[in-house]
Amino acid sequence: MPRQTVYHADIEYLQILDAEGRLDESLAAGTLSDADVKSLYEHMIVCREFDDQAFKLQRSGRMGTFPQNKGQEAATLGSARALRKGIDHIVPYYRENPALFLHGLPMHYILLHWMGDERGNAIPRNLAINPLGLAIGTQTLHAVGIAWAARLRKEDRVVIVYFGDGATSTGDFHEAMNFASVLKAPIIFCCLNNGWAISVPCGKQTASQTFAQKALAYGMPTIQADGNDLFAMYKVTRDAVDRARAGGGPSFIEAMTYRLGDHTTADDAGRYRPAEELAAAVGRDPLVRTRKYLEGRNLWDAQRQSAAEEKAKALIHEVVQVAQNVPKPATADIFDYVFAEMPEDLARQKRTLRTDSIGQDPSQIGLNPPIEKEPEQRAGAALVDAGCGDISSVPE
């Protein structure tokens, strides 16, 4: 066979609801009901309010660095809506709060995390959610492992892992895609292409025309979707879930969305991002489009809007209170969760709050009183029960 084509691929793009709120009815068939869209839109409002308030918390010094989700609500909610709550497992990176809230994560957990409190990662056991991760790309491998475990145990469970455009450059992403396809793991790789990795635009991140085509390297089914379109995101995720449940292994989704805010509160996108680009993106805001759609179907109006905004404000206010009222963690916590059983030497460090040997064994000099420990409040369990801020209403 001297010269011949041995491989061929096409990649499709899907949009169902356009930026003007117009729906492609035929493509929309069997996707989201009116009630679904209304409820998801209400979630969007809540999440946007959460973002705003989190931003203020940081600015007023009550919270550390925070990455807003602003602009990516449809991508995260549309995809998460296609998963079964408490069954299908969500592995986030750090920007997909709406998906986690939809699947039941009490909202103050996310605030706690960014307030520098590990208890924000102590996800309640009844939820199928992994904690936020900070090292870009690493979580994709964990997600593959979780999906693989489900396959090994013959559980009917699909995993979705979220990551950004920047994450596709990491070695871990590559190894995860490869493992998933070789192992036929029931997993969905959802790439939230928001145009930027901090200050690096997609054009400097990759020379490929789409992120979707990265999946071809692994023989993995792949598609590009309008990430600001709830319908398209729901549909492509649903297809991927169905494929995985039928034993078809992993899928890749590139969600074309946009980061409407700075990278995080520590960033100033004004330094690198063209103003026109942002302006154009604002026109594709998923909240605007979803509202137009609902209004076009007479399911929404200005009054409902302000009612929803009021409700969101009240809810988030409460969430912020809860997060702020969580008692400071005990110093003991830094020692108590290193291992299931504490090695003797570490116990000594905990007991004395010293690492110097004389300080740890004052009998050596017989002079220094041991340091008084602070009164302790213990981590974890209690918090879980607070259960505040669960905005979830997805049927199981």
């Binding site: 590990e118 208890r119 990662n121 102590a122 996800i123 056991r125 992994n130 904690p131 090292a135 690493t138 994709t140 491998l141 964990h142 997600a143 593959v144 492992g145 979780i146 999906a147 693989w148 475990a149 489900a150 090994l152 070695g171 871990d172 190894e175 995860a176 490869n178 493992f179 070789v182 916590d333 830094i334 969760y337 290193v338 291992f339 299931a340 059983e341 090695p343 003797e344 030497d345 570490l346 040997s357 981590a379 974890g380």
Partner: protein, 323 residues
């Protein structure tokens, strides 16, 4: 009682534990049909099937990263990294992910896994097949680091590692793999992580080491006529059994630490620091370190020149004794 070498003892422990606990999955490069490049997993795929003994793609980060996911999901992965020189690509997943899993989630997620890794020099292997990075992992809170020096210990320690609720790196000294056989009971037994062994008792000097250096130390002791040496095989690098060391050095007043890794920042530094902290008034001489030099592990023509041997250990002991 069967006489087994290190490879056989580890293979036995793996197969007994897999039999006992069906959450265990072995994964790594060439661990399946090929039985691992050292044959440590020989026969296991045949016995337990392709789902439980898995040949992975050539991706060390992938092996450890997916193991973390398996562990989080309730499995008990036993990943193999083919040689210690290939731990590098997995360093991030081990140190920044696996080791912190319990701590960063306040116990909501845990990461029970046993990472098996052949370690050390002396077998005329190519580059990156003869290193000794144990100190790196001992400096990583959340990890336990184990290194048996003999078949009997290997079986008992490996079973403890596999049952441990936290991540354990289990280093297997390549040089010992086939070097000798000893009685290894078929019956189940464990050796606790964190307990050193006193290999030989003595009164004049404490010699502390681990892994393949145990037999070099035994030779050195054999050749030393002038003194009575207590040899401690750490077996676990972290958490280190400081009590056993302190007791011994309090008695002998002198200590020499031996390891293959370069001296600067090696685990010998920690042992030396601990001894002078805890036995200050008993010490008759400074704690001595007989270790690899502060150079990249040489290719094999010069590996003998790099590695501590009985002669160098002997001189170290003599000088310490005469101080």
């Amino acid at each position: 009682m069967p006489k087994l070498d290190l490879v056989g003892a580890i293979n036995l422990a793996l197969s007994q534990e897999m039999q006992r606990d069906d959450r265990i999955v072995i994964l790594g490069e060439d661990v399946g049909l090929n039985g691992g490049v050292f044959r440590v997993t020989d026969g296991l795929q045949k016995r337990f099937g392709c789902d439980r003994v898995v040949d992975t793609p050539l991706s060390e980060s992938g092996i450890i990263g997916t193991s973390i996911g398996l562990a989080m999901a309730g499995m008990r992965p036993i990943p193999e990294i083919q040689f210690e020189g290939f731990l590098g690509p997995a360093y991030d997943q081990i140190v920044n992910q696996a080791a912190r899993c319990r701590s960063r989630t306040r116990g909501a997620f845990t990461c029970p896994m046993t990472i098996r890794v052949p370690i050390g020099g002396g077998i005329h292997a190519p580059e990156l097949h003869s290193d000794s990075p144990e100190a790196i992992y001992a400096h990583t809170p959340g990890l336990k680091v184990v290194m048996p020096s003999r078949p009997y210990d290997a079986k008992g320690l490996l079973i403890s590692a596999i049952r441990d609720p936290d991540p354990v790196i289990f280093f297997e000294p390549k040089r010992v793999y086939r070097s000798f056989k000893e009685d290894v009971p078929e019956a189940e037994y464990t050796i606790p992580i964190g307990k050193a062994a006193i290999v030989s008792e003595g009164t004049d000097l404490t010699l502390i080491t681990w892994g393949a250096m145990v037999s070099e130390c035994l030779q050195a002791i054999d050749q030393l006529e002038e003194a009575s040496v207590e040899l401690i095989d750490l077996r676990t690098i972290y958490p280190v059994d400081v009590e056993t060391i302190v007791q011994s050095v309090t008695k002998t007043g002198r200590a020499v630490v031996v390891h293959e890794a370069p001296r600067t920042g090696g685990f010998g530094a920690e042992i030396s620091a601990l001894i002078q902290e805890r036995c200050f008034l008993s010490l008759q001489a400074p704690v001595q370190r007989v270790t690899g030099f502060d150079v990249a592990m040489p290719y094999y023509k010069l590996e003998k020149q790099y590695l501590p041997d009985a002669e160098r250990i002997g001189r170290g002991m003599v000088d310490c004794l005469r101080y």
